[in-house]
């Protein structure tokens, strides 16, 4: 069974998702997921997952290995039947009967590229153009190859291509049918840094063109860099929002003060300021939890000077999304080990 979500993060998911969903855009949503769950026997792959992806949005699905990302993507791609809950993909309700209709409007790039290695790049794409029953095959293939900068590799056997190039062919294949939603499952896993950067650039250019992308990754910087919004999944959905919102949501803003000597009565100085919600001593001063650093810092400086303290520095401390992520994941580890 999956661990119950930590109270404060689960609570936090709601307000953020409400503000960051494209306002009043139900008909504009490329994907709507409501309370979706999937169990394999008594093993839970993911549970009670709800979110929306707007048209033209790049939506990141971030989580550690085994979080349920691939299973979610396969469910939305109609390969796996959910155990409960409902979803709408590309405007079509998810149901076994609607499988072919949904699949014709989306495309998916699975974790491994899955190319026919004894066929050329062109032959692979021709096969899939046939499977999508596309018209104007030649032009579409040229365009897809152009989008991933592989025009000159059309006649290479896929078996002769490097991992990074294969990934680009798989991306071209996924672009053939101009999908309403493009699902990319860990598009850079196993690639070297150069190939990873190339794939990132391609995704960024698709984002520019307004392609709706659902991207799963276990790599934080990838989600932060490419996505308009990020959902953090670990069996259940932990947080959802813009990368900058997530940072703020999980970590209250804080201010670091360094003093020449500790305050003799910190409570009377720090406790008297309404902008300061709490404090903790550090070796050289205090870490203060504040509502707004821009208001707190000047008031704090005046109060400290008034109390006769020698201020060495006052600085706002920044948290990266990485901190947010690690915090969430470590909570899960604790929850699971209980």
């Amino acid at each position: 069974m999956s661990p119950p979500p930590a109270a404060h993060t689960a609570g936090a998911a709601e307000p953020i998702s409400a503000t960051s969903t494209l306002a009043g855009s139900t008909c504009e949503s490329a994907v709507v997921v409501e309370h979706l769950s999937k169990h394999f026997g008594d093993r839970v792959a993911y549970q009670d997952v709800s979110f929306e992806v707007g048209v033209g949005e790049v939506f990141g699905f971030l989580g550690p290995n085994g979080a349920g990302k691939t299973t979610t993507v396969r469910t939305l791609g109609t390969l796996i039947t959910p155990s409960s809950g409902s979803a709408t993909v590309a405007g079509i309700p998810l149901s076994p009967r609607n499988g072919p209709a949904i699949r014709s409007r989306i495309s998916m790039m699975p974790e491994s590229p899955g190319l026919y290695l004894r066929l050329t790049v062109l032959e692979n794409l021709q096969c899939f153009a046939g499977l999508y029953t596309l018209d104007d095959v030649r032009r579409r293939i040229d365009r897809a190859l152009g989008a991933v900068n592989l025009e000159d590799r059309a006649h290479d056997l896929c078996g002769s291509l490097s991992k990074g190039l294969r990934q680009r062919v798989a991306l071209a294949r996924a672009l053939l049918n101009d999908p309403a939603v493009l699902f990319l499952d860990e598009p850079t896993s196993g690639l070297d840094p150069v190939a990873t950067r190339e794939v990132h650039e391609l995704i960024a250019s698709l984002r520019e063109r307004g392609v709706t992308i659902f991207l799963t990754t276990h790599r934080l910087e990838e989600a932060e860099r490419l996505c308009h919004r990020v959902a953090i999944l670990n069996t259940t959905l932990r947080l959802i929002g813009r990368p900058d919102e997530l940072r703020e949501q999980l970590f209250r803003r804080s201010v670091e003060v360094r003093l020449r000597a500790p305050l003799s009565d910190p409570k009377s100085v720090l406790g008297a300021l309404p902008e300061i919600e709490g404090w903790e001593p550090t070796p050289s001063g205090y870490t203060l939890t504040v509502t707004d650093p821009d208001l707190a810092a000047p008031a704090l400086a005046r109060a400290l000077v008034g109390a006769g303290a020698d201020i060495l520095s006052i600085a706002e401390s920044h948290h990266s999304l990485e901190d947010v992520y690690l915090e969430l994941i470590s909570e899960d580890v604790e929850a699971k080990s209980r």
């Binding site: 394999f40 998916m108 899955g114 004894r118 096969c127 046939g130 499977l131 029953t133």
Partner: protein, 244 residues
């Protein structure tokens, strides 16, 4: 619900291209006709030498039976490879995420194994008939055409192939290892050939009516096999590769 022949065509074309560049498949396609034309020819030459009428029927029956091994083994090897092989290469998931319906997928896989098999098996039989007409003693040549021999060969080649294909696909939807799938499906493909063997070797008296009756029964089993395989085809199981 209409099948899209374009999708079927896309898979069949892909499959035939893949065979042509697959050494194992090419080897099987080349070795089987060579083996199963050589064995009948040896029988033919032996029959030519003795001209003993008692053994003549047996030798002709055996020759024809050898040639029917082609439509039993070749498609089961090809079709067992076709699903498990795709899963091993990771190509099954991308195909199943296209709008393809399971009927289209299965028909395409079946055709890709059926067409080359029937072409090769008929060609081998044609070579045998030509050799019989050109080089064998007239007694032998006429023995080949006696009774329902030719009819049996023409009817049972596609019917046995059909059975072997469904067995091969059925096995490979459940299996995760190409070798195991191929061996199991070759095994599962043989039973109908045993019935044909009893008839060809005159254990049960061969007659046109019996041949047609058996062919009709096998056809019924082929159609049933198609329904069974279609219901066994489960995207989720195929993609996740575990019992679902």
């Amino acid at each position: 619900m209409s099948a899209s022949w374009r999708r079927v065509d896309a898979i069949v074309r892909k499959e035939l291209r893949d065979y042509r560049r697959n050494r194992f498949v090419l080897g099987t396609m080349a070795a089987m006709p060579v083996l199963f034309i050589t064995l009948p020819m040896i029988q033919l030459i032996a029959a030519n030498a003795t001209r003993n009428t008692a053994h003549l029927g047996l030798r002709i029956g055996l020759s024809l039976l050898y040639m029917l091994v082609i439509p039993v083994t070749m498609p089961s090897v090809l079709s067992a490879y076709s699903v498990v092989g795709e899963r091993e290469q990771g190509t099954l998931e991308p195909v199943l995420t296209t709008p393809i319906r399971r009927e289209e997928f299965l028909i395409a896989k079946a055709l890709a194994a059926f067409v080359p098999t029937v072409v090769i098996a008929y060609a081998v039989f044609g070579v045998f008939l030509a050799a019989g007409a050109l080089f064998a003693h007239p007694v032998i040549a006429s023995a080949i055409y006696a009774g329902p021999h030719v009819l049996v060969q023409l009817l049972f080649t596609p019917l046995l192939a059909g059975w072997a294909i469904w067995v091969g696909i059925a096995v490979s939807t459940r299996s995760t290892d190409v070798r195991v799938a191929q061996q199991l499906s070759v095994l599962g493909s043989f039973p109908p050939l045993i019935i044909v063997a009893l008839m060809s070797l005159n254990v049960i008296a061969e007659s046109t009516a019996l041949a047609i009756g058996l062919a009709a029964t096998l056809l019924a089993f082929d159609l049933l096999g198609w329904r069974v395989v279609a219901t066994m085809f489960d995207r989720e199981r195929l993609v996740t590769g575990r019992g679902g």
